[in-house]
């Protein structure tokens, strides 16, 4: 979908606003959709679709400002291609999961790629938004400049809110120059704990690390920066250069890496029972990066220098619950959070429960942005 003119954009904005106002009137829940690339994420909801994908187009981009502003329906691909032409990129490396992925979806889902621990999450790059609230009001918060402390930081509050507070219409992002040099080195660590210590020790040193992950006995460290800086770091760290480094990182970002594939050995439906297995439940856990490996018996992929632990639960249905429970308990005692990222029962809660005291503020905020509870109700939590 290409760019649209100002006046068409204005019309689309008006239509979206009318739809929200009408939904308010009739108390009709709305299900916000962009490129439908992340429909699997969050809880399953019922609602009248309201489509933002057509609200597309890059509005403003000045490379020397390191800022881009685009409508929420703009395909991420289009934005990334334009930045690439100017030797710049999105610093948070958002997963696309599909070519149809839109900017609005990336911001509303708040998912960051492998660079997260080193260059920051999505919300660190959001400078301002225009949002259509559940009250049907078009509001602007933040701006197009790097530093801005006028008013509460509503634009960042909306990042990762899964459309529960408002429909994003326009977003301004800080972008970053592409590093002059980038390479990935491989270190062999049969033991995950050795990898975790190694990744965190390195992260505490002044070396230009931009990603660090461990899977199947190998630690991969990506170095990005000036040629001199990367070369020096490479020499200091040792290990071999991974010629397929770039493909590895996009594989774990897009979950096309073998670890995430359904047809790994052991994932296949059991021949004996002949019973069709459901898709493996993909669990994502966020913990303090130096947390020791837990659930050694469960095959995991570690990203974010230790801060993100993926577990693809391929157990058969009868064993699945206890296995998931075991993993969730382990993460909880490590004071981390588990998300039921993909597959499984999407009608129950999929995000780690919020303490009552925190939930209370979520409900109050929801109520202030969307008093009739019409925007993606229940997508994040049943109670929101």
């Amino acid at each position: 979908m290409g760019s649209i003119t100002e006046s068409i954009a204005g019309n689309i904005e008006d239509q979206l606003q009318q739809q929200v106002l009408a939904a308010r009137q009739s108390s009709t829940p709305l299900a916000i959709c962009g490129g439908n690339s992340k429909t699997f994420y969050g809880r399953e909801i019922v609602g009248q679709p309201i489509n933002v994908a057509q609200h597309s187009g890059i509005i403003d981009y000045h490379p020397t400002e390191l800022v881009i502003t685009a409508r929420a329906g703009t395909p991420l691909r289009e934005i990334m291609a334009l930045l690439e032409k100017n030797n710049q990129m999105l610093g948070f490396e958002p997963p696309l999961f599909s070519d149809s992925a839109t900017l609005g979806g990336a911001i509303a889902s708040g998912l960051s790629g492998p660079s997260r621990p080193f260059s920051g999450p999505v919300n660190h790059f959001v400078l301002g938004v225009t949002v259509l609230s559940g009250r049907g009001e078009v509001l602007r918060f933040g701006g197009q400049v790097i530093k801005n402390v006028a008013g509460f930081d509503v634009s960042r509050l909306l990042v990762g809110s899964l459309g529960c507070l408002g429909i994003l219409l326009e977003i301004s992002l800080k972008v970053v120059p592409k590093p002059a040099t980038e390479l990935t080195i491989v270190l062999h660590h049969a033991d995950a704990d050795a990898a975790i210590v190694s990744m965190n020790t390195l992260a505490g040193k002044p070396v230009p690390i931009s990603a660090a992950a461990w899977v199947a006995g190998k630690t991969r460290i990506r170095l990005s920066g000036s040629k001199a800086g990367v070369t020096a770091a490479r020499r200091a760290i040792g290990g071999k250069v991974d010629a397929e480094g770039a493909a590895f990182w996009s594989g774990i970002r897009e979950q096309t890496h073998g670890f995430f594939k359904v047809d790994r050995p052991g994932n296949r439906p059991s021949k004996q029972s002949g019973k069709q297995l459901s898709q493996p439940l993909l669990l994502r856990s966020s913990v303090a990066p130096a947390t020791k490996m837990f659930c050694q018996n469960k095959c995991q992929l570690i990203d974010w220098g230790g801060g993100l632990r993926w577990y693809s639960c391929t157990e058969r249905d009868d064993n699945r619950d206890s296995s998931v429970q075991e993993f969730e308990d382990a993460v909880k005692s490590a004071r981390g959070y588990v998300t039921r990222f993909r597959n499984g029962d999407r009608k129950s809660e999929v995000f780690a429960p919020l303490p009552d005291m925190i939930l209370k503020f979520h409900q109050r905020l929801k109520n202030q942005f969307d008093p009739d509870g019409i925007l993606n109700p229940g997508r994040m939590y049943r109670a929101l």
Binding site: V145, V149, F152, D153, R156, P177, N200, A288, H362
Partner: protein, 485 residues
């Protein structure tokens, strides 16, 4: 209304006598923050030493509807810590300890009254530091930094407070003690952490802050660019960034600022230059040398008349000393100065600085410019004399004109100092009624009685009606065509 003795008795239920200040002369210390043009002594100052005491103090305030202004070091430049006439000040100054350091996870948990610089000093032996470095870092507290989302000379590369805080513990007016954020890299639910940072003490009192620690760069070097026009200096900044170099910091000073700083500290600044840039690069030794060379070329390509690279650590400190002393240096050439904090897109630097110059002539007030050029965060310093009748008013009017100019080019009224009481009028220009209303609603979620910092940061609708009425010309709102970014 209770008399002072009754009020003291009331707060004695929460804190010991020595933690309450009620005596008139002692209260004077608290009557203003760094924006000393506004003064108002509070009824009392309470200095809690524990979280439980903070909570007890807030419970009393909530029950008796007493306004609360929290205060860190009082270095704020927007009147954020200005007391309320009927309220108390809660000073976090006694809660100033580091509670825990986790070197492998590179985080430290500190009490909110801890000074910014003290954090870096405490972890220096681990090869780590806390990156945001406001010029006031010897004095200002991490709680105040969180409230203002403070930045510093190095935030172009390392980010603001927002980018360097991982979690907070906050006491609310309703008695909750909530943990916001986490030691993990993300957590479920809305991003309440971003909402709290920069909320100017209006949503709760922050009692603990867990900050991110970064490895100290191997090497840092600074290069000075000397220019005979402000425009060339501005173009150099765009040139550096356009070439994919993100310096650790890039600061600009104009002639008036250069001269004042040079007179004050003798940093070896070029006193006849129209503008000067200080650009710091960091990384490994070879990397830094490479980049210094690139910046040097870019400076020259953009018309620098001279460049100088600090030859050693000592000279690097000397180069920075003038920049860091720029504010006090102004104090020596003018009885008073007023610091503006607007932020603009970098490409408008030349235009805005020229306009500021024109305004300065029109108002017959000198304006010196010292600022974070890399992020387009201006700090025009208007020099005035409060003892000259009418000069403060004239200064405020000029300040307001400069902020309107910033909004005009797509910028904002405050980059890092906050709205406080100072820019409350300009909030009416930058945001619509609906937007301001939404701010009030958010506030209401956390402080239903609006007792925290009442009257600041977000103007009431009535206040804006009044403000905009003053600024309406020929029945039109100022800048109706503007995007309110």
């Amino acid at each position: 209304m209770m008399n002072t003795d009754q009020l003291v008795q009331l707060f004695r239920q929460a804190v010991p006598a020595q933690s309450i200040i009620s005596e008139k002369t002692s209260l004077r210390v608290y009557e203003s923050d760094g924006l000393s043009a506004y003064r108002q002594p509070p009824r009392l100052v309470v200095l809690p030493t524990s979280i439980a005491q903070v909570q007890d103090v807030l419970a009393i305030c909530q029950q008796h509807a007493i306004p609360v202004v929290s205060r860190g070091a009082g270095t704020g430049l927007s009147g954020g810590a200005l007391p309320h006439k009927d309220g108390i000040v809660v000073s976090l100054a006694k809660m100033n300890q580091m509670l825990a350091v986790d070197p492998l996870n590179r985080i430290a948990k500190v009490q909110s009254g801890m000074r910014n610089l003290a954090i870096s000093e405490a972890v220096e032996s681990l090869g780590l530091y806390y990156a945001p470095d406001p010029s006031s870092q010897i004095a200002c507290t991490i709680g105040g930094n969180v409230a203002e989302n403070a930045g510093g000379v190095h935030c172009l590369k390392y980010g603001l407070t927002l980018h360097n805080v991982v979690s907070l513990k906050m006491a609310t007016m309703e008695g909750d003690l909530i943990d916001i954020g986490a030691n993990c890299l993300d957590w479920p639910g809305f991003d309440l952490l971003s909402l709290m940072i920069g909320s100017e003490g209006m949503l709760g009192i922050v009692v603990e802050v867990t900050v991110k620690l970064l490895p100290i760069p191997e090497c840092a070097k600074v290069i000075m660019g000397i220019f005979d026009s402000v425009k060339n200096a501005g173009d150099s900044v765009a040139g550096i960034i356009g070439n994919g170099i993100i310096p650790a910091g890039i600061e600009m000073m104009d002639n008036l600022a250069i001269r004042a700083a040079e007179d004050f500290v003798g940093a070896g600044y070029p006193v006849t230059a129209k503008a000067m840039l200080l650009c710091e690069l960091d990384g490994t030794e070879t990397e830094t040398d490479d980049q210094i060379r690139q910046v040097e070329t870019l400076f020259r390509d953009n018309g620098a008349i001279d460049t100088r690279v600090a030859k050693d650590e000592q000279e690097r400190a000397l180069f920075w000393s003038g920049r860091k002393a720029a504010f006090p240096a102004m104090g020596r050439i003018s009885p008073d100065y007023y610091c503006i904090d607007g932020t603009i897109p970098r490409r408008s630097l030349g235009h805005v600085l020229t306009e500021i110059n024109n305004l300065s002539e029109k108002y017959q007030l000198r304006v010196a410019n010292v600022f974070h050029a890399g992020d387009g965060n201006l700090h025009p310093l208007i020099l005035y004399d409060a003892n000259v009748p009418g000069e403060l008013n004239k200064t405020e009017e000029l300040g307001s004109k400069i902020l309107q100019l910033c909004i005009d080019v797509g910028g904002t009224i405050t980059g890092e100092h906050g709205v406080g009481v100072e820019k409350i009028g300009e909030m009416c220009i930058q945001f619509s009624d609906h937007e301001r209303e939404q701010f009030h609603r958010i506030r209401h979620c956390f402080d239903p009685k609006s007792l925290l910092n009442p009257g600041k940061a977000i103007p009431s609708l009535a206040r804006c009606a009044e403000h905009n009425a003053m600024h309406v010309h020929h029945g039109q709102l100022p800048f109706p065509q503007l995007e309110r970014f």
